[in-house]
């Protein structure tokens, strides 16, 4: 293996394992929110996008409808589509390979690929595939472990799992709060969602904040 490849390999593997390990938190939280072990595993296999998966279980767990759970998760999944737009011209794959590439197009595979840009397009492709498959493998493995673990726990509040979910969301949004505009939007959405909670059906206050984001984005 050349020097370029070993750097890419190391980046991919370290991201894959650390991110994949969060699958434990997802599996446990899914079961804690009323999903079966099978449903938790299917979400990790088929949806395969952490924020969207946490959103589905979070909205349903808070008493929201299936429709608002799907809508929230899908709005969070839009960014994967935009990653696809960026990655497609660099991957140059068709047919079945494109389907596989689409499934592993997530924050991490795109980020590692773009991080290899200085090493050339070949390194970008290697970074994308290695990280995509690596996260997929570990994420699904740890989801099973977390789901089975939570099933054995009983009262999830006694284990703090009901706080692990909002803490996970906080950990996901934290690195995205770069500018003052980002932070103002975050605080505004917290206040808005809480103010709307007693008034409209569960789930809707969350989806509604996407429109605040669009309004802010259009004004910029």
């Amino acid at each position: 293996m050349s020097r370029i490849e070993s750097t890419t390999f190391r980046d991919s593997l370290s991201v894959s394992f650390t991110v994949g390990a969060y699958g434990t938190a997802f599996g446990a939280a899914a079961v804690a929110n009323g999903f079966s072990v099978l449903q938790a595993c299917l979400l990790s296999l088929l949806t395969f996008s952490g924020a969207s998966q946490f959103a589905v279980i979070g909205v349903l767990g808070a008493g929201g409808s299936a429709l608002s759970a799907i809508a929230t998760a899908s709005l969070l999944g839009v960014r994967n589509g935009l990653y696809g737009v960026i990655m497609a011209p660099r991957l140059k794959v068709k047919g079945f390979k494109r389907i596989i590439a689409a499934q592993v197009t997530i924050d991490e595979s795109t980020a590692v690929a773009l991080g290899q840009e200085v090493r050339g397009e070949k390194a970008m492709r290697q970074g994308f595939w290695l990280t995509g498959f690596g996260v997929f493998f570990f994420w699904n493995l740890f989801t099973v472990a977390g789901a089975l673990g939570a099933q054995a726990m009983g009262d999830i509040r006694a284990w703090g799992l009901d706080s692990a979910v909002p803490a996970a969301f906080l950990g996901l949004v934290w690195p995205r709060l770069v500018t003052n505009r980002d932070r103002t939007l975050a605080v505004g959405c917290v206040v808005f969602a809480l103010a709307m909670t007693p008034i409209v059906p569960a789930g809707l206050p969350i989806i509604a904040t996407a429109f605040i984001a669009i309004a802010v984005g259009l004004r910029s």
Binding site: A51, V78, L82, R98, D162, F169, D182, I206
Partner: protein, 102 residues
């Protein structure tokens, strides 16, 4: 089919469709700066709202309970630049401590 199955399958189908569609549209659509701004802002809005709702609500009621301790500790952990697993585990441990002892 109950709500959990509908949500599991519906989310999975749309999640893949979004990813696959992205791989099949020309890159120049994405180059618009407002599209990029909105793409960065939507996750911030939704994730922030999810933190709030998961911490302070039960069904459609606002409430403060042991979860605030957990999320508060998570916030401190993030300020101290703790890695993600430490953030989640410290939140769970402190929340469980409050729930079990008070």
């Amino acid at each position: 089919m109950n709500a959990f199955w509908v949500a599991t399958i519906g989310t999975s189908v749309i999640a893949f469709s979004l990813k696959y569609t992205g791989h099949n549209v020309p890159e120049k659509i994405f180059s618009h700066s407002k599209v990029q701004a909105i793409n960065a802002l939507i996750p911030i809005a939704l994730l922030s709202a999810l933190v709030a709702v998961q911490t302070f609500t039960e069904k459609s009621k606002l409430m403060v309970d042991h979860r605030l301790a957990g999320v508060g500790v998570a916030l401190i952990a993030l300020f101290l630049k703790a890695p993600f697993p430490v953030v989640v585990i410290s939140a769970a441990v402190s929340s469980a401590a409050i729930y079990n002892w008070f």
